[in-house]
Point group: C2
Amino acid sequence: MSAQTTDYGPVDAAFIAALRALFGELAGERVVTSMAVREQHGRDESYHPGHAPDAVVYARSTEEVAAVVRLCAKARVPVVAYGAGSSLEGHVAAVHGGISINLSQMDAVIAVHQADMDVVVQAGVTREALNRELRHTGLFFAVDPGANATLGGMAATRASGTNAVRYGTMRENVLALVVVLASGEVVKTGTRARKSAAGYDLTRLFVGSEGTLGIITELTVRLHGVPGTIAAAVVPFAHVAGAVQAVIAVMQLGIAVSRIEFLDELQMRAINRYSNTAFACQPTLFLEFGGLEAAVAEQVATVRDICDEHGGADFQWAKDPASRERLWQARHKAAYAAMALRPGAKAWATDVCVPISRLAECIAGAQEDAARAPFPTMVVGHVGDGNFHLPMLVDGDNPSEVAAAKTLNEQVVRRALAADGTCSGEHGIGLGKMNFLLAEHGEPAIAAMRAIKRALDPAGIMNPGKMFA
Amino acid sequence: MSAQTTDYGPVDAAFIAALRALFGELAGERVVTSMAVREQHGRDESYHPGHAPDAVVYARSTEEVAAVVRLCAKARVPVVAYGAGSSLEGHVAAVHGGISINLSQMDAVIAVHQADMDVVVQAGVTREALNRELRHTGLFFAVDPGANATLGGMAATRASGTNAVRYGTMRENVLALVVVLASGEVVKTGTRARKSAAGYDLTRLFVGSEGTLGIITELTVRLHGVPGTIAAAVVPFAHVAGAVQAVIAVMQLGIAVSRIEFLDELQMRAINRYSNTAFACQPTLFLEFGGLEAAVAEQVATVRDICDEHGGADFQWAKDPASRERLWQARHKAAYAAMALRPGAKAWATDVCVPISRLAECIAGAQEDAARAPFPTMVVGHVGDGNFHLPMLVDGDNPSEVAAAKTLNEQVVRRALAADGTCSGEHGIGLGKMNFLLAEHGEPAIAAMRAIKRALDPAGIMNPGKMFA
């Protein structure tokens, strides 16, 4: 009764011809089988080995995606959606071959509803492109995973990032989706109403489903007002524990910080080298505040007191837009900065999220385990949500390092689960965390998920080999 | 292939005996078949006719609920969950008979995690009881539908209410659930982590599923800090349109009001009569602000300016806790106040939610249609979310009034759907809105919902006759 099987139909010359027939005279540019393009589409930004699809289709509309999926359904050929390729758990790898549908040309901003603070976009729009489009509206799209991902990919992996502590993740920011199901049917999952009690929450079901239940082709997402006053600051701490305790105190006071990011000593060193900055190489918080003027001043004063109490040095301000931009660029490039510390190494991000009261012990435990690893690691995290990463710089050609990385990753995850946390805060399951999914949810929940998968994708053609072992 | 069928097993003497056997010597008080108790359990606070279950079971643990469900599954007997009976679309009516499981004795607060700002409770805890329990923690549970509903019922109907504009609905406030599935298996849907990208979002699937996919027996919900400074105010307006435009302006500025409620002239008159208050009988906004002191002062000043611009009279303050309490008590009793205007009449609440830019036209349209109705109506709403009700005071014994109420309800819903809104902002589908569910979502989405229903409840025993026509 498994929905996952390897008994798929072949992508042979006849199938490619049928695909090409869908696109008529555009077939040459829209259906591509060159090895370079196929390999690029089977690989994301993670350490996971690539698996090239048999062909890549560049779709330009929901109808085209539906037509391709119908063809694949008839022939029982796997379908994998591809946006920007910035996923971190091998989500785009075509482990059973099949067709990769590239959605990056579906990049239209369909409707900006300024009064309602929402926007309707095609799935291939990237978050940077969307925010450029919105720059004169006084509104912005708040979910920011760092990478310039597509919104479709962000929804599919339930992405979040630095702003989630204030604005929520994709879970909270998607109002409605258009999804092509495994049958090729097109479903609209919601309306533009801010809330609804009408029926099963299909929107939230597809958000985070990693392409295994359908392909997201259009999204309606919430926007937020750009705060009138924005302030950012950097605070180095004497010890990790002090920084984390300060974060806990801030969260408990209900202070609506826009961002509160932790970076450890080595991560700060990496950033300084990579971004040519001169931050203190100490455990550090990067903070952002936004709102009406007096509110921001009050928040800053309160957070400053809290940091003082926990051994923070004085705030270093980034008040003007340019220095704020530099600050967050440096933060966003933390992963590349880390990789530059050990050229040739692969970065395993790791990704757990725990109740905030357990954060200090989970980070300390991770650092203890990491001290025994044969490669450099660091800690960086969206700590306001209890979410942190332990990037590991692993020589992928060295089997003992790879084995040690697997062990360390598992230690970090097991500790998070024991602390009533989750095995993934924002990167998803993909190829990398299928065993942990079971450990986290237990057999009955996984059976329920599998039953839903079978109900919506009985032939198992949607991104097979992911999510469930 | 329908999951809904009337081919259910009988609740006969043998079945009752088997039920009683589960409870041993407590069977007398835990399995009840008296007509009075059965009738009470088949009826909610709505206009929908009651349908008594064949027996009522008072459960005290998840294991007991699971045992009852397993028995029902084996005999193919319907199961309906019952909390406080405060639903508004007939959700508890046992339209195909079967067993009502009363969860009100499952009222334990299992664990308060103050540092993490969450709490684990049994499903029968009411929101007032929970907030009493939390009163010395500086935290509160924010979702407030007015009625003293159980948290299990609130999750099952995706409830919200006056605070949702700032704190979200049950969708945003439930972190994890324990659910008894139709098989009698017990699923835990999540952890205490604030966010997760691990697997399908079962939590959000069960929130709002109205007992049709499983029975919620335990919840982990978010708490929020009680703001240090709270201010509440009443602002009468010359016209409905001015009040609504003021709300739109406040929302667009991103001002985090805690509550922003609209009540029309007749609703204000009803409240004055019922609650012995002396508010102006004009279109009115009830407002609440909360936060740090300077932030609240700044918000108040900004909102005051906005109200002035849109024809609002000056703020009437309710600054001390007692007068704030009186104000919100009056608001919460609006439905009873309405009913008292026409003794003997039933109140049909109606319930739609639209994008805020369409709110003024939707309310004006509803009022126009309502002017032709042979019964009194009023408008009251959580307008910050675009959610409003048009309570209709209908003589249930007068067929022409009942027909007119149906027509008016349909007009309000169709207008909301045409405005890209939803047929239910917070009351759910139940018996009353099955046709509108289809109109809102379309055939493919309803087919997907039905497929999920069949996957998780193949025999169709969970609250049959609801949600899907």
